[in-house]
Symmetry: C2
Subunit: 460 residues, 2 copies
């Protein structure tokens, strides 16, 4: 392999002092704002007071702030970021050569930290505000475990107690993820547990259940609101999380600016929307302000196609229906995706910001089956050297497809995608792929319709 | 936490064009050279021709080259390095603060690549020369799996076949490592297998055996010498491997030079010696030439204490006794260490270069028990954010101890250690530590003596 373009290094690193000192709040540039969260009892917008019973106060301010385009990153958080950021923007020279494509492919790699994903960017910020508020600890849920791992690391750093409710089936099948969290001092409880009212109720009604993310959310929220000095934190979906993740996009923008590059296509995988929202924020802002035009592509699994087959309505965020309602593209809170290996993309809904941008046509979306995603993952691993997470591999698949289109048409487009994490804890999935036993599953229209019937906004 | 020393960033990154373009060969600066490998049949030094039956020709030249201080890194290898190098030299500000030590602690982090360790530095070079020689493929053995993973990645990159003999117990207990190798296209065979003569013999003599590294080496060598177009490669111990790993030390030296820093203490874990030898090479060179003085500390597990309790004699490198003899600090080729979790530090011998430097007093050595090593690992993980490999954690433990000594004495020493890899595949060990069920084992003098009795150099 030879370099096509010697002036661009393999990895564009910013200096530590070039790291952004403010988050970018894309809502400030949206004329039509994302719809507010609703109180499930009154169906009125959640007030600051109501939200503050569940979330840390300063995070509630961020959640409700639709106006300020920039929000300062406190120095304590920036110091933590310096341990693993700025993350590299990598030119995928080897993948380009393998595809024989004139496209220029870049990826922003967020997996070079022990949590293994971009989740740490928001975990540290949420832990910081909890500490600043004088709390004892925080509660959360985790499915695949990336968010729980990130939060455990953040809490260890600030000396906060961390209680993680881990979906029981993951707790049992992913003991290594669990041990990383315990190593960072977190208490990890399989959910549904007998520790909370909702957990006991679910265990009683569904003996032997292996749990679900929606149920773990309900337990974590209950634990937070019934424990003195605790609040609940969430790793995706919320406005505040996308705000924190904007550091991904801001660094990407700055790294491109160093070389005078504007990407043509920006690609991210989409589960709850945290990584996609973070990566695209500054670019979506330029597009919203009419300064630039980009193709922005959200990629989701065909097994959980909230953007491509869901409805944009108010729905519950959790199966227990204790959380506020959000207006979002949703498959219904009772939707149970097949056991797709991209655990981080199995959420029934989508961030209200992403949902609104999609509805406005700022973002497009597509869905892939997992086998074709793993083909792309293995191709990428073998030439770029990084073993990607199944979630991130959805973005790889889309980038490969776009690069192949460029080859057909002889177009020299610049493509950038978010490589959100590594697949070290997903080797069961790779084993199935290597053995040729991986299967695909696409829900029927009837399944989606049945689940959506429970969404308050859709039923009406 | 506040920065003590604002002019030094958290991570010192070199630019890609500052990456070394030559390896440094410390043997050139040694007045007394490491002893040559001996033919086990004749007890005469192995000739170039004899070695070339097993190893790639250009690697044999490197193995035998005691004179040239610098050996060029081919451009193809440097391009591969650019995908994950230069690796960061990190200032452990948070660890310093937690230890309340005036010491300045740095670590050179080699874990930010999918193989999870420094092994990739030599794997790619060995694969390159195999490809250049027109070979079809290479064979090797792996214990814990880091070397096998690195070699699989390197072979995928150059389109070489890769046959890995994996110690049977690891093959069964570390299925994830095995899957990474398979994902990179390698054939992974549990050893002892029925594919080789030596494997069949061992299976016959020891039915139900779970294998050993020494046995897997014997199988891999047999497979290489009996297959057309194949050669054998090894991930540690050999001179050529330490040569390739010198890139670690050269980058470290250059990164320090950027800030006018000279370390006082340089620390590395020592199994076969590849990481330690790589990190210290340029510093040992300065010391050998009388230009500078450094304390250089090799750290090994008390369960496999080749430097601290072994003898400096000619011994077999493998249990099958088919490989050349090396003069090295050894516990005897029949030594079976207790099931210490630092799989990479369980080799009975030590690189001849490290052995000679130790014998000359250029290096000192110490040994720790695994429980105290894991205490240091967890402390490090919680404040520096990286989950370290058990092997690397030996170096962390020594760095922490040296920093605590600095606190006692009020000395502002600069300490640098090699953080060779990550612990994602070692979570069974962390689980035992977290559960409080981890045990320590130190071999008795009688056990070591019994094993050493088989070493040809010792028996005489």
């Amino acid at each position: 392999m030879t370099l096509k373009n010697n002036e661009i290094p393999y990895k564009i690193y910013l200096e530590e002092d070039e790291m952004p000192d403010k988050y970018y709040n894309v809502r400030a540039d949206m004329k039509k704002k994302p719809a507010p969260l609703l109180n499930p009892g009154t169906m009125e917008p959640m007030t600051k007071e109501e939200l503050s019973a569940v979330f840390c106060s300063e995070l509630v301010d961020q959640e409700l702030n639709d106006d300020d385009p920039y929000i300062e990153i406190p120095e304590e958080i920036r110091q933590f970021y310096r341990m693993y950021r700025p993350s590299p923007l990598v030119r995928a020279y080897c993948l380009e050569e393998q595809l024989q494509s004139p496209a220029k492919i870049y990826y922003k790699f967020e997996g070079n930290n022990t949590s293994g994903s971009h989740k740490l960017n928001s975990a540290i910020t949420q832990a910081y505000y909890a500490k600043k508020q004088g709390l004892k600890g925080i509660t959360t849920e985790t499915g695949a475990g990336q968010w729980g791992t990130a939060l455990s690391m953040a809490c260890a750093y600030f000396g906060l107690d961390c209680k993680v409710y881990m979906v029981k089936v993951s707790y049992e099948q992913k003991p290594f993820r669990r041990e990383v969290m315990r190593t960072y001092g977190a208490t990890v409880t399989p959910s549904p547990s007998m520790e909370t009212e909702i957990g006991r109720k679910i265990n009683l009604e569904h003996p032997g259940t292996t749990g679900s993310l929606g149920c773990a959310i309900s337990e974590a929220v209950e634990k937070a609101v019934t424990s003195e000095g605790y609040r609940y934190v969430l790793g995706s979906v919320l406005n505040q999380v996308l705000l924190h993740q904007s550091i991904i996009g801001l660094e990407t923008r700055k790294a491109f600016d160093k070389y005078g590059i504007d990407p043509d296509i920006i690609i991210g995988c989409a589960g709850g929307g945290s990584n996609l929202g973070g990566l695209i924020s500054p670019f979506a802002g330029e597009k919203l302000r009419g300064e630039k035009d980009y193709r922005i592509i959200a990629v989701e699994p065909k097994s959980c196609p909230s953007l491509t087959r869901g409805k944009y309505v108010y729905d519950f965020c959790d199966t227990g229906k204790v959380c506020p309602l959000a207006k979002m593209y949703t498959l219904g809170s009772q939707f149970i995706p097949s056991s797709n290996h991209a655990g981080g993309l199995r959420y029934h809904g989508m961030s209200p910001i992403i949902s609104e941008l999609y509805d406005q046509g700022i973002i497009e979306a597509r869905a892939y089956e997992q086998t074709e995603v793993f083909e792309a993952a293995v191709r990428f691993a073998r030439c770029e050297g990084i073993l990607p997470a199944p979630e991130s591999s959805h973005a790889i698949k889309a980038a490969v497809d776009e690069a192949l289109k460029c080859r057909e048409k002889g177009e020299e487009k610049t493509i950038v995608f978010g490589l959100t994490g590594t697949g070290y804890f997903d080797l069961k999935a790779y084993e199935q792929f290597n053995d040729g036993t991986m299967t695909d599953y696409v829900p029927t229209d009837e399944e989606i319709e049945a689940s959506l019937a429970n969404a308050p906004g859709y039923a009406k």
